[in-house]
Amino acid sequence: MDWLELALRVGAVTVAFLVLPLLVGQTEHKVMAHMQARLGPMYAGAFHGWAQLIADGVKFVQKEDITPRAADGPVFKLAPGVALIPYLLVLLVIPLGPGDLVGQPLDIGLFFALAIVGVGVVAVLMAAWSSANKYSLLGGLRAAAQLMGYELPFVLAAASVAMAAGTLSLPLIVERWEPWWLLWQLPATLVFFIAGLAEIRRPPFDMPIADSELVFGYMTEYTGLRFAFFLLAEYVGIVVISALTATLFLGGWHGPMAESLGWLWMLLKTGAVAFLVIWFRVAWPRLREDQLQRLCWLILVPVALAQLVLTAWVRVAMA
Protein backbone atom coordinates (compact mmCIF):
# COMPACT_ATOMS: atom_id res chain seq x y z
CA MET A 1 0.00 0.00 0.00
CA ASP A 2 1.65 3.25 -1.07
CA TRP A 3 1.45 6.57 0.72
CA LEU A 4 -1.03 8.13 -1.69
CA GLU A 5 -3.54 5.35 -1.14
CA LEU A 6 -3.04 5.51 2.62
CA ALA A 7 -3.62 9.27 2.64
CA LEU A 8 -6.72 8.81 0.48
CA ARG A 9 -8.18 6.19 2.83
CA VAL A 10 -7.49 8.20 5.97
CA GLY A 11 -8.90 11.30 4.27
CA ALA A 12 -12.09 9.48 3.28
CA VAL A 13 -12.58 8.18 6.83
CA THR A 14 -12.02 11.68 8.22
CA VAL A 15 -14.65 13.09 5.88
CA ALA A 16 -17.10 10.38 7.00
CA PHE A 17 -16.17 11.21 10.60
CA LEU A 18 -17.09 14.86 10.05
CA VAL A 19 -20.15 14.47 7.82
CA LEU A 20 -22.08 11.44 9.13
CA PRO A 21 -22.52 12.74 12.72
CA LEU A 22 -23.88 16.03 11.37
CA LEU A 23 -26.37 14.10 9.23
CA VAL A 24 -27.46 12.07 12.26
CA GLY A 25 -27.73 15.23 14.37
CA GLN A 26 -29.85 17.02 11.79
CA THR A 27 -32.04 13.92 11.41
CA GLU A 28 -32.48 13.86 15.16
CA HIS A 29 -33.59 17.52 15.17
CA LYS A 30 -36.20 16.89 12.51
CA VAL A 31 -37.35 13.39 13.49
CA MET A 32 -37.74 14.29 17.16
CA ALA A 33 -39.61 17.45 16.24
CA HIS A 34 -42.07 15.65 14.02
CA MET A 35 -42.60 12.86 16.53
CA GLN A 36 -43.47 15.55 19.08
CA ALA A 37 -45.76 17.40 16.64
CA ARG A 38 -43.33 20.29 16.14
CA LEU A 39 -41.52 21.53 13.07
CA GLY A 40 -37.97 21.72 14.44
CA PRO A 41 -35.40 24.06 12.86
CA MET A 42 -36.89 25.79 9.81
CA TYR A 43 -34.85 28.95 9.09
CA ALA A 44 -31.10 28.20 8.96
CA GLY A 45 -30.17 27.58 5.31
CA ALA A 46 -33.72 28.39 4.17
CA PHE A 47 -34.87 24.88 3.17
CA HIS A 48 -36.30 23.15 6.27
CA GLY A 49 -33.40 24.36 8.41
CA TRP A 50 -30.82 22.08 6.77
CA ALA A 51 -27.92 24.29 7.93
CA GLN A 52 -28.94 24.34 11.59
CA LEU A 53 -25.98 22.32 12.84
CA ILE A 54 -23.51 24.41 10.84
CA ALA A 55 -25.01 27.50 12.49
CA ASP A 56 -24.68 25.74 15.86
CA GLY A 57 -21.04 25.02 15.12
CA VAL A 58 -20.37 28.70 14.30
CA LYS A 59 -22.08 29.65 17.55
CA PHE A 60 -19.98 27.21 19.61
CA VAL A 61 -16.74 28.54 18.09
CA GLN A 62 -17.58 32.09 19.16
CA LYS A 63 -18.36 31.21 22.78
CA GLU A 64 -15.91 31.91 25.56
CA ASP A 65 -13.80 28.95 26.59
CA ILE A 66 -14.10 28.79 30.37
CA THR A 67 -12.02 26.62 32.70
CA PRO A 68 -13.29 26.80 36.30
CA ARG A 69 -10.71 28.14 38.75
CA ALA A 70 -10.88 25.07 41.00
CA ALA A 71 -10.63 22.66 38.08
CA ASP A 72 -7.59 20.58 37.21
CA GLY A 73 -6.69 22.50 34.06
CA PRO A 74 -4.69 20.09 31.87
CA VAL A 75 -6.98 17.13 32.51
CA PHE A 76 -10.09 19.28 32.02
CA LYS A 77 -8.83 20.50 28.65
CA LEU A 78 -7.68 17.11 27.45
CA ALA A 79 -10.89 15.19 28.20
CA PRO A 80 -12.99 16.19 25.12
CA GLY A 81 -10.19 15.08 22.79
CA VAL A 82 -9.86 11.74 24.55
CA ALA A 83 -13.62 11.31 24.17
CA LEU A 84 -13.52 11.97 20.43
CA ILE A 85 -10.44 10.14 19.12
CA PRO A 86 -11.44 6.52 19.90
CA TYR A 87 -14.51 6.78 17.66
CA LEU A 88 -12.42 8.18 14.80
CA LEU A 89 -10.12 5.16 15.08
CA VAL A 90 -13.06 2.72 15.11
CA LEU A 91 -14.43 4.18 11.87
CA LEU A 92 -11.14 3.12 10.23
CA VAL A 93 -11.96 -0.60 10.44
CA ILE A 94 -15.68 -0.65 9.56
CA PRO A 95 -16.16 -2.03 6.03
CA LEU A 96 -18.34 0.08 3.74
CA GLY A 97 -18.59 -2.29 0.80
CA PRO A 98 -17.38 -5.62 -0.63
CA GLY A 99 -13.72 -6.23 -1.41
CA ASP A 100 -11.33 -3.52 -0.34
CA LEU A 101 -13.84 -0.79 0.53
CA VAL A 102 -12.71 -0.31 4.12
CA GLY A 103 -10.49 2.29 5.75
CA GLN A 104 -7.92 -0.21 6.99
CA PRO A 105 -8.53 -3.97 6.80
CA LEU A 106 -7.38 -5.38 10.14
CA ASP A 107 -7.01 -9.06 10.92
CA ILE A 108 -8.67 -8.56 14.30
CA GLY A 109 -10.82 -5.54 13.48
CA LEU A 110 -13.71 -6.53 15.75
CA PHE A 111 -11.44 -6.88 18.75
CA PHE A 112 -9.78 -3.58 17.91
CA ALA A 113 -13.16 -1.82 17.74
CA LEU A 114 -14.33 -3.22 21.08
CA ALA A 115 -11.05 -2.35 22.81
CA ILE A 116 -11.00 1.22 21.50
CA VAL A 117 -14.67 1.93 22.28
CA GLY A 118 -13.88 0.93 25.87
CA VAL A 119 -11.32 3.73 26.17
CA GLY A 120 -14.08 6.35 26.01
CA VAL A 121 -14.91 5.81 29.68
CA VAL A 122 -11.50 7.20 30.66
CA ALA A 123 -12.48 10.50 29.03
CA VAL A 124 -15.74 10.58 30.99
CA LEU A 125 -13.92 10.01 34.27
CA MET A 126 -11.35 12.68 33.37
CA ALA A 127 -14.05 15.24 32.60
CA ALA A 128 -16.08 14.32 35.68
CA TRP A 129 -13.25 14.54 38.18
CA SER A 130 -11.35 17.52 36.80
CA SER A 131 -14.44 19.77 36.72
CA ALA A 132 -14.35 20.15 40.52
CA ASN A 133 -18.13 19.94 40.60
CA LYS A 134 -20.25 17.53 42.63
CA TYR A 135 -22.79 17.05 39.86
CA SER A 136 -20.01 16.32 37.39
CA LEU A 137 -18.40 13.78 39.69
CA LEU A 138 -21.73 12.03 40.38
CA GLY A 139 -22.43 11.89 36.66
CA GLY A 140 -19.00 10.50 35.97
CA LEU A 141 -19.34 7.78 38.60
CA ARG A 142 -22.71 6.78 37.20
CA ALA A 143 -21.23 6.69 33.71
CA ALA A 144 -18.28 4.56 34.82
CA ALA A 145 -20.51 2.06 36.62
CA GLN A 146 -22.80 1.90 33.58
CA LEU A 147 -20.05 1.56 31.02
CA MET A 148 -18.18 -1.15 32.90
CA GLY A 149 -21.40 -3.12 33.41
CA TYR A 150 -22.60 -2.89 29.82
CA GLU A 151 -19.18 -3.63 28.38
CA LEU A 152 -19.76 -7.27 29.30
CA PRO A 153 -22.97 -8.02 27.31
CA PHE A 154 -21.61 -5.78 24.53
CA VAL A 155 -18.46 -7.88 24.11
CA LEU A 156 -20.27 -11.20 24.65
CA ALA A 157 -22.84 -10.42 21.93
CA ALA A 158 -20.07 -9.46 19.53
CA ALA A 159 -18.19 -12.65 20.44
CA SER A 160 -21.22 -14.68 19.41
CA VAL A 161 -21.18 -13.39 15.85
CA ALA A 162 -17.39 -13.77 15.70
CA MET A 163 -17.86 -17.42 16.68
CA ALA A 164 -20.54 -17.85 14.05
CA ALA A 165 -18.31 -16.42 11.32
CA GLY A 166 -15.14 -18.00 12.68
CA THR A 167 -13.12 -14.81 12.33
CA LEU A 168 -12.44 -11.50 14.07
CA SER A 169 -12.01 -9.57 10.84
CA LEU A 170 -14.97 -7.27 10.16
CA PRO A 171 -14.85 -7.55 6.32
CA LEU A 172 -14.73 -11.36 6.60
CA ILE A 173 -17.62 -11.44 9.08
CA VAL A 174 -19.77 -9.52 6.60
CA GLU A 175 -18.61 -11.75 3.75
CA ARG A 176 -19.62 -14.95 5.57
CA TRP A 177 -22.93 -13.52 6.79
CA GLU A 178 -26.10 -15.27 5.57
CA PRO A 179 -29.69 -14.05 5.85
CA TRP A 180 -30.77 -16.81 8.25
CA TRP A 181 -28.28 -15.43 10.79
CA LEU A 182 -30.85 -12.69 11.37
CA LEU A 183 -32.88 -15.29 13.24
CA TRP A 184 -30.02 -17.35 14.66
CA GLN A 185 -28.26 -14.26 16.07
CA LEU A 186 -31.42 -12.35 16.99
CA PRO A 187 -30.85 -12.37 20.79
CA ALA A 188 -27.27 -11.21 20.29
CA THR A 189 -28.50 -8.47 17.94
CA LEU A 190 -30.88 -7.11 20.56
CA VAL A 191 -28.30 -7.38 23.35
CA PHE A 192 -25.64 -5.68 21.24
CA PHE A 193 -27.94 -2.83 20.23
CA ILE A 194 -29.20 -2.18 23.78
CA ALA A 195 -25.75 -2.44 25.33
CA GLY A 196 -24.45 -0.19 22.56
CA LEU A 197 -27.07 2.43 23.44
CA ALA A 198 -25.86 2.26 27.03
CA GLU A 199 -22.22 2.51 25.91
CA ILE A 200 -22.87 5.83 24.21
CA ARG A 201 -25.14 6.94 27.09
CA ARG A 202 -28.11 7.69 24.89
CA PRO A 203 -31.64 7.79 26.33
CA PRO A 204 -33.10 5.73 27.93
CA PHE A 205 -29.59 5.13 29.36
CA ASP A 206 -28.71 8.78 29.99
CA MET A 207 -28.62 8.49 33.77
CA PRO A 208 -25.05 9.95 33.86
CA ILE A 209 -26.34 13.15 32.25
CA ALA A 210 -29.85 13.21 33.75
CA ASP A 211 -30.53 16.92 33.28
CA SER A 212 -33.36 16.99 35.81
CA GLU A 213 -31.10 15.97 38.70
CA LEU A 214 -27.44 16.42 37.70
CA VAL A 215 -27.61 19.63 35.60
CA PHE A 216 -25.68 17.99 32.74
CA GLY A 217 -23.60 15.35 34.46
CA TYR A 218 -19.91 15.28 33.60
CA MET A 219 -20.40 17.94 30.90
CA THR A 220 -21.83 20.55 33.28
CA GLU A 221 -18.74 22.79 33.40
CA TYR A 222 -17.89 22.66 29.72
CA THR A 223 -18.51 25.55 27.33
CA GLY A 224 -17.89 26.49 23.74
CA LEU A 225 -15.81 24.28 21.51
CA ARG A 226 -14.94 21.71 24.17
CA PHE A 227 -18.63 21.16 24.87
CA ALA A 228 -19.21 20.86 21.12
CA PHE A 229 -16.53 18.13 21.04
CA PHE A 230 -18.45 16.14 23.63
CA LEU A 231 -21.65 16.55 21.62
CA LEU A 232 -19.83 15.52 18.44
CA ALA A 233 -18.48 12.46 20.29
CA GLU A 234 -22.05 11.50 21.17
CA TYR A 235 -23.17 11.67 17.54
CA VAL A 236 -20.10 9.88 16.19
CA GLY A 237 -20.93 7.31 18.86
CA ILE A 238 -24.37 6.83 17.30
CA VAL A 239 -22.76 6.38 13.88
CA VAL A 240 -20.23 3.87 15.23
CA ILE A 241 -22.76 1.80 17.17
CA SER A 242 -25.22 1.80 14.25
CA ALA A 243 -22.50 0.87 11.77
CA LEU A 244 -21.19 -1.91 14.03
CA THR A 245 -24.71 -3.29 14.50
CA ALA A 246 -25.29 -3.19 10.74
CA THR A 247 -21.90 -4.80 10.04
CA LEU A 248 -22.10 -7.58 12.59
CA PHE A 249 -25.76 -8.51 12.61
CA LEU A 250 -27.58 -7.01 9.61
CA GLY A 251 -25.19 -8.16 6.91
CA GLY A 252 -23.42 -4.90 6.15
CA TRP A 253 -23.21 -4.45 2.39
CA HIS A 254 -25.31 -7.52 1.51
CA GLY A 255 -28.31 -6.72 -0.67
CA PRO A 256 -29.42 -6.68 -4.32
CA MET A 257 -26.51 -5.83 -6.66
CA ALA A 258 -24.08 -5.85 -3.71
CA GLU A 259 -21.08 -5.69 -6.06
CA SER A 260 -21.87 -2.18 -7.22
CA LEU A 261 -24.36 -0.93 -4.63
CA GLY A 262 -22.88 -2.49 -1.49
CA TRP A 263 -21.87 0.85 0.02
CA LEU A 264 -25.45 2.10 -0.39
CA TRP A 265 -26.93 -0.87 1.50
CA MET A 266 -24.39 -0.42 4.28
CA LEU A 267 -25.25 3.28 4.60
CA LEU A 268 -29.00 2.56 4.48
CA LYS A 269 -28.76 -0.09 7.20
CA THR A 270 -26.61 2.17 9.35
CA GLY A 271 -29.11 4.98 8.82
CA ALA A 272 -32.02 2.73 9.77
CA VAL A 273 -30.34 1.71 13.04
CA ALA A 274 -29.48 5.36 13.76
CA PHE A 275 -33.14 6.24 13.20
CA LEU A 276 -34.04 3.59 15.79
CA VAL A 277 -31.58 5.17 18.25
CA ILE A 278 -33.32 8.53 17.81
CA TRP A 279 -36.75 6.91 18.13
CA PHE A 280 -35.70 5.33 21.43
CA ARG A 281 -34.87 8.77 22.78
CA VAL A 282 -38.33 10.07 21.96
CA ALA A 283 -40.25 6.99 23.02
CA TRP A 284 -38.68 5.85 26.31
CA PRO A 285 -38.39 7.52 29.71
CA ARG A 286 -35.00 7.46 31.43
CA LEU A 287 -34.14 4.29 33.32
CA ARG A 288 -33.41 4.73 37.02
CA GLU A 289 -29.90 3.75 38.17
CA ASP A 290 -30.98 0.49 39.82
CA GLN A 291 -33.25 -0.47 36.91
CA LEU A 292 -30.38 0.18 34.58
CA GLN A 293 -27.96 -2.11 36.42
CA ARG A 294 -30.68 -4.74 36.86
CA LEU A 295 -31.38 -4.79 33.12
CA CYS A 296 -27.68 -5.29 32.44
CA TRP A 297 -26.81 -8.01 34.92
CA LEU A 298 -30.08 -9.95 35.15
CA ILE A 299 -31.28 -9.82 31.55
CA LEU A 300 -28.63 -8.83 29.03
CA VAL A 301 -25.69 -10.86 30.41
CA PRO A 302 -27.67 -14.14 30.77
CA VAL A 303 -29.21 -13.69 27.32
CA ALA A 304 -25.79 -13.05 25.81
CA LEU A 305 -24.35 -16.16 27.53
CA ALA A 306 -27.29 -18.28 26.33
CA GLN A 307 -26.71 -16.95 22.82
CA LEU A 308 -23.06 -18.01 23.02
CA VAL A 309 -24.13 -21.55 23.92
CA LEU A 310 -26.66 -21.59 21.09
CA THR A 311 -24.08 -20.31 18.61
CA ALA A 312 -21.62 -22.98 19.70
CA TRP A 313 -24.25 -25.73 19.36
CA VAL A 314 -25.29 -24.67 15.87
CA ARG A 315 -21.66 -24.35 14.79
CA VAL A 316 -20.85 -27.85 16.03
CA ALA A 317 -24.01 -29.30 14.48
CA MET A 318 -23.15 -27.76 11.10
CA ALA A 319 -19.51 -28.79 11.12
Binding site: D72, V75, L106, A115, G118, V122, A145
Partner: protein
Protein backbone atom coordinates in the same frame (compact mmCIF):
# COMPACT_ATOMS: atom_id res chain seq x y z
CA UNK B 1 19.34 -0.01 14.28
CA UNK B 2 16.24 -0.28 12.16
CA UNK B 3 13.26 2.07 12.26
CA UNK B 4 11.45 -0.45 14.48
CA UNK B 5 14.32 -0.38 17.00
CA UNK B 6 14.23 3.40 17.17
CA UNK B 7 10.45 3.39 17.70
CA UNK B 8 10.71 0.64 20.31
CA UNK B 9 13.21 2.68 22.28
CA UNK B 10 11.20 5.90 21.95
CA UNK B 11 7.95 4.27 23.10
CA UNK B 12 9.89 2.50 25.83
CA UNK B 13 11.09 5.86 27.07
CA UNK B 14 7.49 7.09 27.13
CA UNK B 15 6.46 4.02 29.13
CA UNK B 16 9.27 4.39 31.66
CA UNK B 17 8.81 8.16 31.94
CA UNK B 18 5.09 7.96 32.54
CA UNK B 19 5.65 5.09 35.01
CA UNK B 20 7.99 7.39 36.94
CA UNK B 21 5.27 10.05 36.85
CA UNK B 22 2.78 7.54 38.29
CA UNK B 23 4.85 7.07 41.43
CA UNK B 24 6.26 10.59 41.74
CA UNK B 25 3.21 12.79 41.17
CA UNK B 26 1.46 14.11 44.25
CA UNK B 27 -1.88 14.39 42.46
CA UNK B 28 -3.77 11.25 43.36
CA UNK B 29 -6.01 10.96 40.30
CA UNK B 30 -3.33 12.12 37.88
CA UNK B 31 -1.24 9.14 38.98
CA UNK B 32 -4.04 6.91 37.67
CA UNK B 33 -4.17 8.86 34.42
CA UNK B 34 -0.40 8.53 33.96
CA UNK B 35 -0.93 4.80 34.39
CA UNK B 36 -3.20 4.94 31.33
CA UNK B 37 -0.28 6.42 29.36
CA UNK B 38 2.11 3.75 30.65
CA UNK B 39 -0.17 0.85 29.78
CA UNK B 40 -1.00 2.42 26.41
CA UNK B 41 2.72 2.71 25.64
CA UNK B 42 3.21 -0.95 26.56
CA UNK B 43 0.36 -1.81 24.14
CA UNK B 44 2.20 0.12 21.41
CA UNK B 45 5.36 -1.87 22.22
CA UNK B 46 3.39 -5.09 21.68
CA UNK B 47 2.15 -3.70 18.36
CA UNK B 48 5.72 -2.87 17.28
CA UNK B 49 6.75 -6.42 18.19
CA UNK B 50 3.93 -7.67 15.93
CA UNK B 51 1.86 -9.11 18.77
CA UNK B 52 -1.35 -7.43 17.57
CA UNK B 53 -3.77 -9.52 19.56
CA UNK B 54 -1.94 -9.09 22.87
CA UNK B 55 -1.73 -5.33 22.20
CA UNK B 56 -5.49 -4.94 21.91
CA UNK B 57 -6.11 -7.25 24.86
CA UNK B 58 -3.85 -4.89 26.81
CA UNK B 59 -6.00 -1.91 25.76
CA UNK B 60 -9.32 -3.68 26.40
CA UNK B 61 -8.44 -5.15 29.80
CA UNK B 62 -5.92 -2.77 31.34
CA UNK B 63 -6.86 0.64 29.94
CA UNK B 64 -10.57 -0.04 29.49
CA UNK B 65 -11.25 -1.98 32.68
CA UNK B 66 -8.49 -2.20 35.31
CA UNK B 67 -7.46 1.47 35.36
CA UNK B 68 -11.07 2.58 35.09
CA UNK B 69 -11.95 0.42 38.09
CA UNK B 70 -9.01 1.91 39.97
CA UNK B 71 -9.99 5.50 39.15
CA UNK B 72 -13.60 4.67 40.00
CA UNK B 73 -12.60 3.41 43.46
CA UNK B 74 -10.38 6.44 44.11
CA UNK B 75 -13.13 8.84 43.10
CA UNK B 76 -15.69 7.04 45.27
CA UNK B 77 -13.53 7.40 48.36
CA UNK B 78 -11.25 10.40 48.14
CA UNK B 79 -10.07 12.30 45.09
CA UNK B 80 -8.97 15.84 45.90
CA UNK B 81 -7.92 18.16 43.10
CA UNK B 82 -4.38 19.37 43.72
CA UNK B 83 -1.54 17.91 45.73
CA UNK B 84 -2.10 15.54 48.63
CA UNK B 85 1.15 16.01 50.54
CA UNK B 86 -0.05 13.96 53.52
CA UNK B 87 0.12 10.76 51.48
CA UNK B 88 3.87 10.90 50.93
CA UNK B 89 6.20 8.28 52.31
CA UNK B 90 9.95 8.69 52.92
CA UNK B 91 11.60 8.62 49.51
CA UNK B 92 14.82 6.83 50.47
CA UNK B 93 13.65 3.22 50.98
CA UNK B 94 11.25 3.44 48.02
CA UNK B 95 14.07 4.63 45.76
CA UNK B 96 16.34 1.87 47.00
CA UNK B 97 13.85 -0.93 46.47
CA UNK B 98 12.42 0.40 43.20
CA UNK B 99 15.71 1.27 41.54
CA UNK B 100 17.39 -1.83 42.95
CA UNK B 101 14.86 -4.31 41.64
CA UNK B 102 14.43 -2.43 38.35
CA UNK B 103 18.14 -2.15 37.57
CA UNK B 104 18.77 -5.65 38.91
CA UNK B 105 16.18 -7.18 36.60
CA UNK B 106 17.40 -5.14 33.64
CA UNK B 107 20.97 -6.21 34.33
CA UNK B 108 19.94 -9.84 34.71
CA UNK B 109 18.09 -9.83 31.37
CA UNK B 110 20.93 -8.07 29.59
CA UNK B 111 23.42 -10.59 30.97
CA UNK B 112 21.39 -13.75 30.31
CA UNK B 113 20.51 -12.81 26.71
CA UNK B 114 23.86 -11.10 26.02
CA UNK B 115 24.86 -13.10 22.94
CA UNK B 116 21.58 -14.63 21.90
CA UNK B 117 20.12 -13.82 18.48
CA UNK B 118 16.33 -13.96 18.40
CA UNK B 119 14.54 -14.06 15.06
CA UNK B 120 11.26 -12.17 15.18
CA UNK B 121 8.42 -14.70 15.40
CA UNK B 122 5.52 -14.54 12.93
CA UNK B 123 2.74 -12.07 13.65
CA UNK B 124 0.88 -12.83 16.87
CA UNK B 125 -2.55 -13.26 15.33
CA UNK B 126 -5.65 -14.35 17.26
CA UNK B 127 -5.34 -17.78 15.65
CA UNK B 128 -1.80 -18.37 16.88
CA UNK B 129 -2.59 -17.17 20.39
CA UNK B 130 -5.68 -19.39 20.44
CA UNK B 131 -3.75 -22.44 19.24
CA UNK B 132 -1.08 -21.86 21.88
CA UNK B 133 -3.56 -21.38 24.75
CA UNK B 134 -5.87 -24.26 23.86
CA UNK B 135 -3.06 -26.54 22.69
CA UNK B 136 0.19 -26.36 24.65
CA UNK B 137 -1.08 -24.33 27.58
CA UNK B 138 -4.56 -25.69 28.12
CA UNK B 139 -3.93 -26.97 31.66
CA UNK B 140 -2.50 -23.70 33.08
CA UNK B 141 -5.35 -21.90 31.32
CA UNK B 142 -7.97 -24.05 33.02
CA UNK B 143 -6.26 -23.75 36.41
CA UNK B 144 -6.22 -19.96 36.03
CA UNK B 145 -9.91 -19.93 35.18
CA UNK B 146 -10.66 -21.91 38.34
CA UNK B 147 -8.61 -19.38 40.32
CA UNK B 148 -10.61 -16.51 38.80
CA UNK B 149 -13.84 -18.33 39.59
CA UNK B 150 -12.74 -18.71 43.21
CA UNK B 151 -11.96 -14.98 43.37
CA UNK B 152 -15.40 -14.23 41.93
CA UNK B 153 -17.16 -16.40 44.49
CA UNK B 154 -15.06 -14.81 47.23
CA UNK B 155 -16.07 -11.32 46.10
CA UNK B 156 -19.75 -12.27 46.18
CA UNK B 157 -19.42 -13.80 49.65
CA UNK B 158 -17.61 -10.72 50.97
CA UNK B 159 -20.13 -8.25 49.58
CA UNK B 160 -23.18 -10.23 50.67
CA UNK B 161 -25.10 -8.70 53.55
CA UNK B 162 -25.42 -10.87 56.65
CA UNK B 163 -29.07 -11.58 57.25
Amino acid sequence: MTAIDVMLSAVGLVAVGSALAVVSTQHLVRAGLWLVVTLGAVAVEFLLLRAEFVAWVQVLIYVGAVVVLLLFAVMLTRAPIGRSTDLDRPIGPALLIGAGSGLGLAGLFAWVFRDMRVNPPPTGSAQRVGEAIFGDWVLPFEVLSVLLLAALVGAIVLSKKDT
